[in-house]
């Protein structure tokens, strides 16, 4: 157990261990960063209490990462870490009271800092009275907290690390400070560090009418603490708290020099009902005005400037007096510590750079609105680009002419489905009947797409383009393929023939003839078809071939693509994507259809399978 318990005037020291109630990851990191720059040997946070999740939390300790345990209840945490005697309570105003009372009920928890604003006055008074009865301390509610320089900080007290370093809070000075306002704490730390050897400890008791501990409570602790040589406080109009300090001054209970200022001297000129920030800031009688309090402080022997503007000068005056009296020794400044910058901050400020791992050139989701190839989604909608236009942006990074977008949509509609018997749909149906989910069943169907099913678009485009580029006549092309022993991709259909033409192909061709500037490759392919169908009626230009060939005609004639780009489209196999995308529509339909029908597991009938086992002789190892 830390030595804090042995000396009542010590609120926090370098060994203080605390719980943080509430999963406030930023505040937790700030506390750890403070610990780290103070050269503490160990983090000040024993555990996090998070009512909704137990487990661990990963945080930085310098540039290293550490793990903090996380408990669901205060009692569990207190049992596990009896050395933690502080709880920083980030619970909301609704639960701040219950959680604080729970913490006070734990013998090992001695100080509770309540951050929430809006805790009811009756509940605040009960918390405060309960703590006093037990000799414990409640800080707040409605406060940022407080800190002991070089030792421990409550949550967000003293702001950014830069500010902590600027105000030299990483090492103790000799001034004890207390205020009501948490918002002025940083400023006070700044003023005091510029006019003395700095803060030893600083606390904001919170702006509520009934704070858990009063300014006097803390001033009496400062009086007792031999490391503190002078005290500074910043009061407010309203309430009696300052008069308790004044009484203590008069009775000699506070002997150390006290610099005091009470804010709110402007209130006599303000009209009724002007809102001051704090619930407690409100003068009901002359005695409670800032003027009366400042006068009373002065009269009781405190050092009181004539306005807040002189606060720093008065601190300096008192500090220099103590220095000349030898009551404080000149401080030898330790080296100012460093904390590694947060990666995201350093990156934002341009202090560091790092090569990226991958590149994206088609879309950007970082702004207010997603961009498709640099075009805002709302503009895509306004221009009514449709699915074809979106494919143009995301696949080709181009705004395609309207007829090209419509051609893509025509292709998608044409290939959307071709009945349940084709292998892709069949596979998807079998998977769906086996109880697989939609995505798994869809994948099962899509995985069937390949050179024999739906995947001939690219091959057809490639072969016909090659033939054309090589300036082969249709006859040369056909005989060349025959010589290689390869079927011409895009030619031939299982059931369609010259006499039973494929309606889909006719649709594609008539659209292209009506809209494309040129259908040169198609014309070539049709000449090839004349040759092949002369040999066999079903060696027609099939739908895959027609799509691939027409797409090449589209790219060559629409003016949006360079020759290199067209080569790339063919080389990378863009065009099978059209089939996969379109057919997904049908596959999903089949899968849902089976689910709707409540179909049972599919088992292929045994009589439909020719079972032909190898003989014993066949499987014998012959070696």
């Amino acid at each position: 157990m830390s030595q804090t318990l042995s000396k009542n005037y010590v609120l926090f020291d370098r060994n203080t261990k605390a719980f943080v109630y509430g999963y406030q990851t930023n505040a937790i990191q700030r506390m750890l960063d403070f610990d780290y720059i103070c050269n503490r040997s160990a983090p000040s946070i024993s555990a996090i209490i998070n009512p909704s999740r137990a487990g661990i939390h990963k945080a930085f300790w310098g540039s290293k990462e550490i793990i903090l345990p996380m408990y669901k209840s205060i009692s569990l945490a207190a049992k596990a870490y009896p050395e933690a005697d502080v709880m920083v309570n980030f619970a909301s105003h609704r639960s701040a009271f219950d959680t604080t009372m729970e913490a006070l009920a734990e013998e090992s928890i001695r100080v509770v800092a309540v951050i929430a604003e809006g805790v009811p006055e009756r509940k605040s008074r009960i918390m405060s009275a309960t703590a006093k009865k037990q000799g414990k301390i409640v800080l707040g509610p409605a406060t940022v907290g407080g800190m002991t320089a070089g030792a421990f900080r409550i949550g967000n007290t003293a702001g950014t690390i830069e500010n902590i370093i600027a105000s030299k809070l990483y090492r103790p000075g000799s001034v004890g400070f207390v205020s009501k306002s948490g918002g002025m704490l940083n400023e006070a730390f700044n003023i005091i560090s510029r006019n003395s050897d700095g803060i030893y400890e600083g606390v904001a008791i919170g702006g509520d009418r009934y704070p858990g501990s009063t300014m006097l409570d803390h001033i009496l602790r400062y009086e007792e603490n031999p490391a503190i040589k002078m005290i500074a406080c910043l009061g407010e109009l309203g309430g009696e708290d300052e008069y308790r300090i004044i009484s203590a001054l008069k009775e000699g209970k506070v002997k150390k020099p006290l610099v005091a200022w009470v804010t709110g001297t402007c209130s006599p000129v303000l009209p009724a009902s002007v809102q001051f920030g704090h619930a407690g800031a409100k003068a009901d009688t002359h005695k409670e005005t800032a003027q009366a309090k400042n006068d009373a402080f002065r009269e009781a022997g405190a050092y009181v400037p004539t306005s807040f503007d002189g606060y720093g000068d008065t601190v300096r005056q008192v500090y220099e007096m103590l220095l000349s009296q030898g009551k404080v020794l000149p401080l030898i400044e330790p080296e100012a510590p460093k904390i590694p910058a947060d990666y995201s901050k350093a990156l934002a400020s341009g202090d560091i750079r790092k090569p990226t791992t991958f590149i994206c050139t088609i879309s950007d989701d970082r702004g207010e609105e997603v961009l498709y190839a640099g075009k805002k989604l709302s503009a895509v909608m306004e221009d009514q680009m449709g699915i074809g236009g979106v494919i143009g942006l995301l696949w080709f990074k181009k705004e395609l002419p309207d007829y090209a977008a419509r051609f893509i949509e025509l292709v998608l509609q044409i290939v959307a489905d071709h009945g349940p018997a084709v292998s892709g749909a069949h596979n998807a149906i079998v998977a769906s009947c086996a109880g697989k989910d939609l995505i798994s069943s869809l994948c099962s169907g899509l995985l069937t797409i390949g050179p024999r099913f739906g995947g001939a678009i690219d091959d057809a485009a490639r072969e016909f383009k090659h033939a054309r580029d090589m300036a082969m006549t249709p006859e040369q092309f056909v005989s060349d393929m025959k010589r290689k022993g390869v079927n011409i991709p895009g030619i031939g259909h299982k059931i369609k023939s010259v006499k039973n033409p494929d309606k889909r192909v006719q649709l594609l061709i008539s659209f292209a003839r009506a809209n494309f500037p040129s259908t040169e490759l198609l014309n070539y392919a049709l000449k090839v078809e004349e040759l092949t169908t002369a040999k066999k009626g079903n060696l027609i230009l099939n739908v895959d071939g027609c799509i691939g060939i027409l797409f090449l005609d589209l790219m060559t004639s629409c003016g949006a693509f360079s020759k290199a780009e067209i080569d790339e489209v063919v080389r990378l196999g863009y065009l099978n994507g059209l089939f996969a995308l379109g057919r997904s529509i049908g596959l999903i339909g089949h899968i849902l259809d089976q689910k709707r029908l409540g179909s049972r597991l599919y088992r292929h009938p045994a009589e439909d399978i020719a079972y032909m086992m190898p003989s014993q002789e066949d499987i014998k190892c012959r070696r």
Partner: protein, 458 residues
């Protein structure tokens, strides 16, 4: 915690003059009084409504039925009479219900009247401008209740302090309670121990006779009602016995508005009225509306539109201190506004707040020029550069008007990204041709006030 005797001595002085008793007077005097955020006054109508509805949960022999009617500017009196049938049959009391007291003294209470007379009184007084204790305002709400003829006037009040609540009781109630304050009995109820073990009966005056039982039960129940209904102040002065039962005649109450979450059932239908005489200017209302729509805190009070010193201060604590310093230096009369912007307002909110102030301050030309103090302490986590962005937008928009009104700007601020924020302000000064001086945490927070006022004359 050791507490000095002197501390108690001071407290005793406070007991002799319990502040809360003068809540009405305080609101109408009010020059120095500020609207308290946590403790808020409610209408007598609502206070009595709560009492009638919930005190019986703690007190069997309480038969006050809460015949009450609230009349606002929109109230249809005939409809009111049809839903409150007693209005047409009972003798009535009519009085304004707008968080101010001494209504009798100002001749604003109608006693022992019938419905026709009450209607006439309401028609005459609704919307009337009256001056009460130096504050002028419009009468907009009246309470009507049955007139109770009585002789006995008793006093009871409950207020709170650090370690508990105080119950005050006196047999000399009504307008005489203040001059008979030495006859007031005080009971202290500890915040942890509650009513248990407090001997009320033996401390009640003997003159009460057989009523002392009823008073004891009433006081105990009233305290429980006070503690469990979210009150922070309650005064019934006077109350009396009517047909053997206690009836409140005049009641004043404040609630702790932080209790809202716990009291939402008991408080349903209750509203916190604006203090009497408070009316917001268009610009103040605009900022108030802006404030109500955001998690940030945006406040504006116009003190003197002709004033030459305008402030835009971040943070509640700092805004008081800037105003203090202006007053301490003797320029209170020149202070044009009071307000704050804090709690990490976004760029847009800061822009609207700044624009409102710039608009106000450039409406009139003063040959001596004007000053804008853009001040603030060292922020905890508010991004200074970000908030200044909104400020700069507004400054750019008002370039010509700022030049015309001969405005000089002084800036002081610290906190996250303050260097960048200050740089932004410096560069905008040069761009706009408006003199602007910019300081950071190395300069004392309020130093820009004497800097700005140094060249000014009162």
């Amino acid at each position: 915690m050791p507490v000095s005797l002197e501390y108690f001595a001071i407290r005793e002085i406070f007991w002799l003059f319990p502040l809360e008793r003068f809540v009405n007077k305080k609101i109408i005097e009010a020059a120095k009084v500020v609207l308290d955020m946590a403790q808020r006054g409610i209408r007598e109508y609502d206070a009595k409504r709560l009492l009638a509805r919930f005190l019986p949960e703690y007190l069997n022999e309480f038969s006050y039925n809460g015949d009450l009617a609230l009349v606002g500017p929109e109230t249809d009196l005939e409809e009111l009479a049809s839903t409150h049938s007693w209005l047409k049959t009972a003798r009535l009391v009519v009085k304004p219900d707008q968080l101010f007291g001494k209504r009798g003294k100002h001749g604003l209470v109608l006693l022992d009247a019938d419905w026709d007379r009450a209607k006439k009184f309401l028609q005459e007084n609704m919307g009337a401008q009256v001056a009460v204790g130096g504050i002028t305002g419009k009468l907009s709400h009246f309470l009507i209740e049955p007139f109770i003829p009585h002789e006995e006037e008793l006093y009871v009040a409950i207020s709170s302090d650090n370690d508990g609540d105080n119950i005050f009781f006196s047999m000399q109630g009504g307008v005489f309670v203040e001059e008979n304050w030495d006859k007031v009995i005080r009971f202290h109820v500890d915040v942890l121990d509650g009513m248990d073990g407090i001997d009320i009966k033996s401390r009640l005056p003997e003159d009460l006779g057989e009523k002392s039982n009823a008073i004891e039960n009433f006081v105990k129940a009233l305290w429980r009602f006070y503690a469990e209904t979210g009150f922070s102040y309650l005064e019934i002065n006077p109350f009396t016995f009517h047909k053997g039962y206690i009836v409140p005649l005049d009641m004043v109450a404040k609630l702790d508005d932080a209790e809202e979450y716990w009291q939402r059932k008991r408080w349903s239908g209750l509203a916190f009225p604006e203090p009497f005489g408070r009316s917001l200017s268009k610009e103040e209302q605009f900022i108030k509306d802006l404030d109500s729509k955001t998690g940030a805190s945006l406040k504006l009070t116009i003190l003197n539109p002709e004033g030459r010193i305008w402030t835009m201060v971040a943070g509640g604590g700092a805004s008081v201190i800037y105003a203090d310093t202006i007053c301490d230096l003797g320029f209170a009369k020149e202070m044009a506004n009071y307000g704050e912007y804090s709690g990490d307002p976004n760029t847009e909110e800061t822009y609207y707040y700044t624009r409102t102030i710039l608009d106000l301050m450039t409406r009139r030309i003063d040959p001596r020029g004007k000053m804008l103090l853009i001040g603030g302490a060292i922020a905890n986590f508010t991004d200074v550069a970000k908030t200044f962005k909104g400020l700069v937008m507004a400054l750019e928009e008002y370039q010509q008007k700022l030049q015309d009104a001969d405005v000089k700007i002084y800036v002081r601020r610290g906190g996250p990204n303050y260097e960048q924020g200050l740089k932004l302000m410096r560069s905008v000064g040069g761009r706009l041709g408006v003199p602007i001086e910019v300081y950071g945490p190395e300069t004392h927070m309020t130093r820009i006030v004497p800097m700005a006022l140094g060249g000014a004359s009162v």
